[in-house]
Structure formats: structure tokens, C-alpha cells
Symmetry: C2
Subunit: 353 residues, 2 copies
């Protein structure tokens, strides 16, 4: 049996190694680095191939492929969304991703993306808030205290300087879990008994709940002027969190309109309701927040470019490091036309047929 050549081997980041890499860099530093990478890619947004994700829906969930390319590297993520999974001891969202070289088509990185998606989602939310939230926002309501919530809080602390987090979940044990986890970072947290209580005094309201149904986590009368809403949980058809009345009073910012109109909060609005693409704000081509009184809303659904940025960020971090394993993923015969010969030479005692 031949040993695989270098070309056959693809660096692989396991969950264990992703966790080790995050701790090696530091969670807050990782989130900041990720946000900077995403920001840089949003500044060259027109360079990317963009397509709404390719989704396979079933009655219990969705499996999606999210590809993009900047012409030099190609990336895609496999991700599922199964709200009922949490009741069965499984993750609602899991994923993995791949980067490859456009010139040869050869993969150059395979990585877990359950953790990495949680990190990039939080980094993107905080990046959007950096451009949209009121100046000196120091208090955030965190409604929904599930798997994504601590990542959100930590990102808003690290990237936007938010100091106090007012937590609410219909499941008090989720709030207790989030508080315990966040206490390790010296963050100020307050457990609230309702969404109304959570948003008191908050300049930023983050919603991140998991039901696949039209829920109304924020009703129209709850939200006053001058806040930034970071809507994370409205992220697939039939799944929204925010009352249409609030949407009508808000300036709405999105990642990629063709995808957000299907998946985001704005699926509740007319298909031509005006929205602003976040990348244009970051580029300086469009205005973000225009006044103190304005309600800004980032209708986050997650776009392939953010995953691309995250994979490339990880790829840079693992250069010559201990965080990758190498998978024998690609057949690489000595003579490219002799794939069959490679197979024959791998036979026990080289006896074929």
C-alpha cells in the first residue's frame, strides 16, 4: 500500500481542535479577529459569487449548502436546522465547512462548523451593531438564552463594549446556564422574568429563540425609539420573532436580500419593502443610523460569505500549528491518468479482480 501524497491530504479541524484553537487565541480575541475578517470581506462584497443557500426542506427541519467564492478560494458550509433536535439531546444547528483552491479545485481545509457558526453569527451581529447601534450603548437585552446566547453577549462585550446583559428565556434554567457561563468573563448579567423586563434600559435588543413557527417575542408596544434590534432567531421560512408593527417603524439592514426576504423577519413584509444591505453601510455607500430616535434592525439570517471569512480566518490561524489533523480525502495517483493503476497497486499482495 502506498502512503498518500501531500496532495491527497486535507487539513481537518475537529471539534476538539477547534475548541483548543479558540482557547489558544482566547474567545474574545477570536471573536474580534473573526469580526475583522468578516468586515474585510464585506468591504469587497461585489467580488463574491452569491447565491441563496441550497435548501432541502422536510417537515422537521432543513439541510442546507451555502457556497460562495471570491475567485481565488471557494467555500461552502453544510448546515442543518432542526428545532426539535434540542428535545432529543441533539444540536438544533450543526455544520461543517470546506475551503478549496479555485485554480485546482482541490480542498485545502475541512472544518467543524457547529462552534465556528456560533462564533461567526455572534461576530457578525456585533459587527452590524458597531455600525448601527446608538453611540455608547452599554446595555443589551438578550431574549432567548439557548446555545447562541453567550456567544452573542461575549461578542457584544468584546466588539461593542456592552457591559450589562439583561437575560430572559421562557425556560429559567437556560437563563441560569447563560449567567453561570458569562460570570466567568466578569460580565454583568441580570436575570429577567419577562421580555418586557429584559428590554428596560437596553439600547440593544437581541432576539434569539428557536421555535420554527411565527412567534412574537417582541410585540409592537414593547419597543420604543432609539434602540438597535439584533434579530437572530428569525432565520428560516415560517420562523420569525418580531411583530410586523416594529418592522414598519424600523430601518432594516440585511445581509443578502434574496435570501433574507425568504428566511428573515422581512418575510412578513411586502417583497419590495425597502432594506439596506449591511455591506453598503460598512463600505460607506449607504447610511447606517441617521438619528438618535431611529430604530435600527439587523435582520440576521447568516450568509455564506461569513462562513467563508470564518474558514479563511481559521485557515490562517492553523498555519504550521498543532490544531490540524490530515485526512486522506483525495485520490492522488503518481500518474494522474492512472487512477485505476493506483487502485490495483493497493490490492493485498497486488492481486486484483
Amino acid at each position: 500500500m502506498q502512503t498518500p501524497s501531500d496532495k491527497a491530504l486535507v487539513p481537518f479541524i475537529s471539534v476538539k481542535n477547534m475548541m483548543a484553537l479558540v482557547h489558544h487565541i482566547g474567545i474574545s480575541a477570536f471573536l474580534k479577529g473573526l469580526a475583522a475578517e468578516i468586515e474585510a470581506d464585506f468591504k469587497r462584497w461585489p467580488k463574491f459569487d452569491k447565491t441563496p443557500r441550497v435548501a432541502a426542506h422536510s417537515d422537521v427541519g432543513v439541510i442546507e449548502l451555502m457556497p460562495t467564492s471570491d475567485g481565488e478560494m471557494y467555500g461552502f458550509k453544510y448546515v442543518n436546522g432542526h428545532p426539535k433536535n434540542a428535545n432529543e439531546g441533539l444540536q438544533t444547528v450543526t455544520g461543517f465547512g470546506l475551503l478549496s483552491d479555485v485554480k485546482s479545485g482541490y480542498p485545502i481545509l475541512l472544518s467543524e462548523m457547529t462552534l465556528l457558526t456560533a462564533l461567526r453569527t455572534a461576530a457578525t451581529s456585533a459587527l452590524a451593531a458597531k455600525y448601527l447601534a446608538p453611540n455608547n450603548a452599554r446595555t443589551m437585552a438578550m431574549i432567548g438564552n439557548g446555545a447562541q446566547s453567550e456567544f452573542q453577549c461575549l461578542a457584544f462585550h468584546a466588539i461593542c463594549g456592552v457591559q450589562e446583559f439583561r437575560l430572559f428565556d421562557i425556560d429559567p434554567s437556560a437563563t441560569a446556564k447563560a449567567r453561570a457561563n458569562l460570570s466567568r468573563f466578569g460580565l454583568n448579567t441580570v436575570a429577567c422574568s419577562s421580555a418586557e423586563e429584559a428590554i428596560q434600559g437596553a439600547q440593544i435588543i437581541t432576539t434569539c429563540t428557536a421555535d420554527k413557527q411565527h412567534a412574537t417575542v417582541l410585540t409592537d408596544n414593547m419597543v420604543g425609539s432609539g434602540v438597535h434590534i439584533n434579530g437572530v432567531g428569525g432565520d428560516c421560512p415560517g420562523k420569525t420573532e418580531i411583530a410586523p408593527g416594529i418592522l414598519h417603524r424600523s430601518s432594516i439592514f440585511v445581509e443578502y436580500p434574496p435570501q433574507t426576504r425568504i428566511e428573515g423577519e422581512i418575510q412578513q413584509l411586502a417583497p419590495d419593502h425597502p432594506v439596506t444591505e449591511l455591506w453598503r453601510v460598512i463600505m460607506g455607500e449607504a447610511k447606517g443610523r441617521c438619528s438618535r430616535e431611529e430604530i435600527t434592525l439587523f435582520d440576521s439570517v447568516g450568509f455564506a460569505i461569513e462562513d467563508f471569512s470564518a474558514l479563511r480566518f481559521v485557515k490562517k490561524q492553523i498555519q504550521d500549528s498543532q490544531f490540524a489533523e490530515y485526512l486522506d480525502l483525495l485520490a492522488d495517483p503518481d500518474e494522474p491518468k492512472d487512477l485505476f493503476g493506483m487502485l490495483l497497486r493497493a490490492a493485498p499482495n497486488s492481486i486484483a479482480a
Copy 2:
């Protein structure tokens, strides 16, 4: 550091293990098993989600994702096509694939698919010929003796009983390589110095060349009545092998028309030129070969369902066997809502931040 739970681990078939599995089963038996699996799935074709592949084109090649689902399992393949790779010591086509459980969205198999694609392409060609080629076809012309050629010959021997293979390639060393490899299986091979010579006496003509350009491997005057043409190499926009005159004299059979009209030989014809879907022939809903004089043409481009069948075939073969490694691909915290806590507990000495 916690050890990953069973749910976090995904069976992975490396190239090395795929080769070992193929030899464990036997190459011919593997091809036959694969063809049977593909045939069974073609018989339930309407059950599958079908979409043309999602392609990212560059000036040197293409990277594609090919998803499908039968409602119980979901599968996709990542595959590239870079004709110039062969000149740079790389494979023209490499790939890997994934199967997952539609109910949970969790991956259940990750596999190399460079070898597996070569095997399933050959098995599909032979399956089509079983329904379309003249009775008692015993001689096949094999035009193009690259990486796919021996797989084709062996599949036609194992599945259709073809005994003699007349080989031609513009590169005589490719022909010599194919002959040497095939001699191990006791197949009768003849090296020919032109395509015209290769097709003499052949009831089946297989074309499988690699240039990304409109080539004419078969000209109109070369092909007489009563043959079956297995056109494998015309498989992406701008890449065809067969003269339009032959297409106009042939009954054309395809996998999935919306994809074949873009990628196959029939990209040279009007968009409404009549074609027959192969699955309908296999189901008995449409006629295959109607007369001895007819020219039948299988315009093979490769469809996602064949990859799905191949992945599921492999998944069945590796049950409780030594051919899988297990990858720590999915984050699976003890408490699904506590992804962040899992990350914290993975910290060196459990110190976070």
C-alpha cells in the same frame, strides 16, 4: 477535555480505506453491486429531490455541489472538474461526499469520492448499456484512455459481458497504461491508432476524453447503424465529443434533462430536442432500443442520485467493518443548549477568556 460522544463522530472513508473496501469486495463485484443499487434508485426516481448541480465556474474549471434526498437520507457530493490539472500532476476530477439523516440533519457518512465517482460513472454507463445496447454486444471501442477508461471497460465486462476492448487515445502511452491495467483481468484489448480503427466491429462505442472544448471525437461519417454510443466525456458547458450529425441520427437517453441540456452532448441541439429519461426505460415506462438498426446514445453527465446510491452502497458495506475511521466532526454538548459551556469546559485547566 471531554471525549467526543458517539453523536459527535461521523464515519469517514479515506482513499486508502475505499481502496481496501473495493479489494475486499472485489472490483467487479463492487461495480455490479453499485449498478444494482443505482438501478434500484432509478426505479424510484420520482421520490428524489432533484436539482441541477450548483456550479461555481472559473476560467480554468468548475467546482460543483450535487445534492439530493429521498426523504429519509440526504446526500451531496463536492466535485471539481479542471482539465488542466492532469498537466500539473493533479486529478482532473476529485471529490468527496456526505450522507446524512433527514430527520436530525446529522451526517452519517463522509467519504472520499474520487475513486467512488470513477466507479459509479462506469457502473451507470454499463447499466444504461444493459437496457440500450444491441443484444449480444461483445466488442466495445474505448476512445480516450485516461483515468476513467479502465473502470468503463471493467464495468462493461462485468455487467454487460463485453469481451473485447478496442482502445484509442491521442496519447499512445495512455493506451499502453490502460492495456497493462486491464490485462490483469484477462480482458481482450486491442491498441488502435485512430478512432476509426477503434470502432471497427464494435457494437458499443464509449467516448471519454477530457478537453474542455468542443472536440469532435466521433464525426458523422464514422458511425454506422445499430451501435450504442456511451458518451461520457461531454459533461460540462463547452465540452462535447460527438458530431451533431450523429446526435440527429440517434435516440438519445439522459439522466436528468435540465442538467444534461446544459452539460451534455445535447447542449449542441435545440433545447426541445426529444430525449428519453433513462429511469423511465428502467421502470418500463419508456422504450429503450426499438430495432437492430437504431443508434442509441447515452449522454452521460453524472447525476446526484448516482452519487447518493454509491454513498448508500458504501454505507451498507462498512457496517461493523474495519473500513471506517471516526471523525470528531459535530459538536455535541451533554446539554444541547450549553454549546458555550462545552467550549468553556474544554479550556486548558478550565480557565476561559
